[in-house]
């Protein structure tokens, strides 16, 4: 039996399909039979199995994610919300910005270079699909212990892959994160965020409208990438001939994607598409069912028309293939010639593979034989919804407070600061970021290691956007509900520290197995916390991504909800950076420290976790953002206090500036004494540098908004001097910069 047609399926109702091997549960298979009124064909089964997978259907997370809709703030800024490839936000002056984060964790563990590279490729296509020109990328990363042998395999490969793909696309990399923790060994996190810009009227949607309109597949040819499951189907069920080996990894072709971007933007500029969808997970299955499901009619597809890189692919495999650098457009017949001409100009293969119909079914034929006949919505949108069992994990009841020796003498201070600054989680990341182009496109105002990445949108009006991504997995471990709130508040603070106003958020929620009730509870608490804090801050959630199963055996990763905040700045020339240009500036801390070391890097360096996350203070953070925005014009430099506490913030500022500072901290003002002031990671704090003439103005703003402002000291000299402990810049800088080259070559 070569081809399992619809007729054949109807005629052989009792034929057993290997649904379990494709990851479908018995009840899910029964549901498919019920929907179709017969057993599915092999091709149909392939489509349902992949579209109903956790990755594509969000079956475990859906019931929780709906809070983002239910609790949503009414926001005029949100032009396109959750549900499309990426959300779109109005930033004024007729511009719309779209941004989204996605994970490519497991593939990056298997083949770090290609996994990370195709992760960038995928998120960039999501942004392009909205009609936008991609303008920047960011990359929040997590790895196992910095000195573990496998980290030495994974990290350099991931970094080279992100650079290799992103640089070749001409997308400035403007920020991200690199954090090491043992739980990520075997489960590195490679999240990628892309942001794009367009005019309001250019927004595109993934919808197939208009009977008679054509379905055009364009971009790379289809190969056997990423079709493990479907190969089982093809080899064990129907095809007697053994199929050729299918690759376990997808290989990216950044040049093909660059050309695809330029080609697509030219097509959009001439308004040649009715709807458009990128091909990512689940390939043609996903693109055709989603387009048809979101549209008004049905669709006919002739599968043999799909251009193949590997002629041995079976229909099931063509439907499943995750070959990169492909797009699917709905084009009116009258515009096809022009569409094809643009593809030809860019040497992009484009093929009409079907048409939109007035019916309500997706029909796929292969050489004239009907192999798929489904209601598209049942594949794309009506997948299973699970209410998984949840239970508060027991570890939460056995957390112990930190116990850390206080630091007093000058020698202690110096040793502690040097130790902190050379720790892999704090140390200079330029070994990594030098491998990324942050200049290309000529609009980068701020990039790593600044608090946020900032891009100029309009050269004449100076309008710009800022983006920051943050996660504090240790706080999420200690308190998932508040941990994610703290991440969002930090992200907002980062945006405001650079001078931009927070506007909207995206997220990428990385967790262990949803089948573990403890993980599921942690996930649910995280979503609840994120939905609540967005409501409190008045920020819409524009979209996001969920990555489950980041775990080895029974050990899950730390819950790692990455939050990305988008901000707007009316005039990028007013932005603040972390480095100061002169001696004699006065340094202040906005906000108070306390004595909670839980989850801090300082505690981590002493092998401790602690017992409680800080309590988010939304009111304080909101006022702090206002101070930062109002005080902007008076700041000579500004830098957020987060990982590593005040000691890290000051060190980073003096190292980047190449100018020292003399700091004096009166121990008694802080409950935690000097150690707390320097190393606790109490949120809601920012260091600012201000010219003496402007101090009064800043004080007035801080007083009006009731934000404490503490004098720290003054810039100058060639050492960082803290309460008499003098750390020469050269020594501090060496401690800070030598770690990554030592670890990674």
């Amino acid at each position: 039996m070569a081809l399992d047609t619809v007729a054949n399926a109807a005629a052989t109702p009792d034929f057993e399909l290997p649904f379990a091997q494709l990851g479908l549960k018995e009840d899910e298979y029964a549901k498919i039979r019920e929907i179709l009124g017969r057993r599915p064909t092999g091709s149909e089964l392939a489509m349902y199995s992949v579209m109903w997978s956790e990755h594509c259907s969000y079956k475990s997370s859906k019931v929780h994610l709906k809070q983002f809709g239910e609790k949503a703030v009414k926001s005029d800024a949100l032009l396109v919300g959750i549900g499309e490839n990426a959300g779109v936000v109005d930033i004024g002056q007729g511009y719309a910005v779209t941004f989204k984060a996605e994970s490519h964790n497991h593939p990056s563990f298997v083949e770090p270079y290609q996994g990370a590279a195709t992760g960038i490729g995928g998120i960039v296509r999501d942004i392009l699909t909205m009609g936008a020109r991609p303008i920047a990328v960011m990359d929040p990363l997590r790895f196992g212990a910095a000195d573990a042998p496998d980290t030495r395999r994974v990290l350099p490969g991931v970094v080279a892959g992100i650079g290799g793909y992103g640089n070749c696309l001409g997308l400035p990399n403007i920020g991200g994160e690199i954090v090491f923790d043992e739980t990520y060994a075997g489960n590195p996190l490679v999240n990628a965020l892309c942001v794009g810009v367009m005019r309001h009227e250019d927004i595109k949607l993934a919808q197939a409208h208009g009977a008679g309109n054509l379905v055009v597949l364009y971009g790379a040819k289809t190969g056997g990438d990423g079709i493990g499951g479907a190969s089982i189907l093809a080899s064990e069920t129907f095809n007697t001939a053994k199929p050729t080996k299918r690759p376990a990894v997808q290989v990216g072709d950044p040049f093909a994607e660059k050309v695809l971007i330029e080609c697509s933007l030219e097509i959009f500029a001439e308004d040649l598409v009715v709807g458009i969808q990128d091909l990512g997970a689940a390939g043609i299955s996903c693109a055709t069912t989603e387009l048809a499901s979101a549209g008004t009619g049905g669709m006919n597809v002739q599968l043999e028309k799909v251009p193949l890189r590997d002629p041995s692919l079976s229909p099931e495999e063509i439907l499943m293939s995750e070959s990169q650098e492909r797009m699917c457009a709905i084009v009116e017949p009258s515009k096809l010639a022009r569409f094809m001409a643009i593809c030809k100009k860019w040497d992009v293969t484009a093929t009409v593979i079907g048409e939109v119909t007035s019916g309500d079914r997706l029909h796929i034929t292969h050489n004239g034989e009907l192999i798929v006949d489904v209601p598209p919505r049942t594949v794309a949108h009506d997948g299973p919804v699970l209410t998984r069992p949840m239970a508060r994990p027991e570890y939460l009841d056995s957390l112990t407070p930190t116990s850390l020796a206080p630091i007093e003498s000058a020698a202690d201070i110096k040793a502690a600061v040097l130790k902190l600054m050379s720790a892999p989680n704090i140390a200079d990341k330029s070994w990594v970021t030098k491998q990324f182009d942050h200049y290309v496109q000529g609009n980068t105002i701020l990039s790593q290691p600044e608090d946020s990445g900032m891009i100029r949108i309009d050269e004449k009006t100076h309008l710009g956007i800022a983006i920051s991504t943050d996660a504090n997995a240790r706080w999420s471990y200690l308190d998932p509900y508040n941990g994610v709130k703290l991440a969002l508040l930090e992200s907002c603070r980062n945006i405001a520290t650079s001078g931009a106003k927070p506007l909207a958020i995206t997220n990428c929620l990385n967790f262990g197995s949803p089948e573990d009730p403890g993980v599921m509870w942690t996930f649910a608490e995280t979503v609840r916390g994120l939905a609540d804090i967005c409501l409190e801050m008045g920020l819409p959630v524009t979209g996001g991504n969920v990555s489950f199963y980041n775990q080895t055996g029974k050990v899950a990763i730390l819950p790692t909800p990455v939050v990305g905040v988008l901000g707007v700045i009316e005039d990028v020339r007013t932005r603040s950076a972390m480095s100061f240009k002169e001696a004699g500036l006065e340094l202040f801390q906005l906000g108070n420290a306390d004595d909670n070391f839980s989850g801090s890097e300082w505690a981590h360096l002493h092998g401790q976790m602690g017992d409680r996350a800080p309590t988010p203070d939304v009111d304080h953070e909101t006022r702090l953002v206002k101070v930062l925005l109002a005080g902007q014009k008076y700041f000579a430099a500004a830098h957020d206090i987060s990982n590593g506490g005040l000691a890290a913030t000051l060190s980073e500022m003096v190292i980047k500036s190449g100018i020292g500072a003399t700091i004096s901290i009166p121990g008694e003002v802080v409950p935690g004494g000097l150690t707390g002031a320097l190393f606790a990671e109490t949120p809601g704090r920012v260091v600012i540098a201000v010219k003496t003439d402007n101090v009064a103005a800043v004080e007035r703003i801080a007083t009006d908004l009731n934000i404490p402002m503490h004098t720290l000291g003054v810039t100058g000299g060639d050492a960082l001097v803290i309460n008499g402990a003098s750390i020469p810049l050269a020594e501090l800088s060496a401690a800070y910069t030598e770690t990554f080259p030592r670890l990674f070559g």
Partner: protein, 81 residues
């Protein structure tokens, strides 16, 4: 003096963007003989004296562990004059 040669090629099922780009460029330059092109790496390794079976066994291991990425590449080790 004979050398150890390690040839590393992408596995046939893996996309080879470089080979494709070369194959696409050849006809533009007037060369029509090629039906498809795959691009790989060639390592020429000099050893002290003639390669011994032990050295070849080592080269085999080095190729497996380091010179090739066996997730996506295959390799051949040989001796050439």
């Amino acid at each position: 003096m004979p050398k150890i040669i390690v040839e590393v090629m992408l596995k046939p099922e893996i996309l080879d963007p470089q080979g494709q780009a070369v194959a696409a460029a050849l006809p533009r330059l007037g060369f029509t003989f090629a039906q498809s092109v795959r691009q790989g790496k060639r390592f020429e390794i000099e050893v002290a004296g003639e390669p011994t079976p032990a050295m070849l066994a080592d080269a085999e291991r080095a190729a497996e562990e380091f010179l090739a990425n066996t997730v996506i590449e295959s390799f051949v080790v040989k001796v050439e004059q």
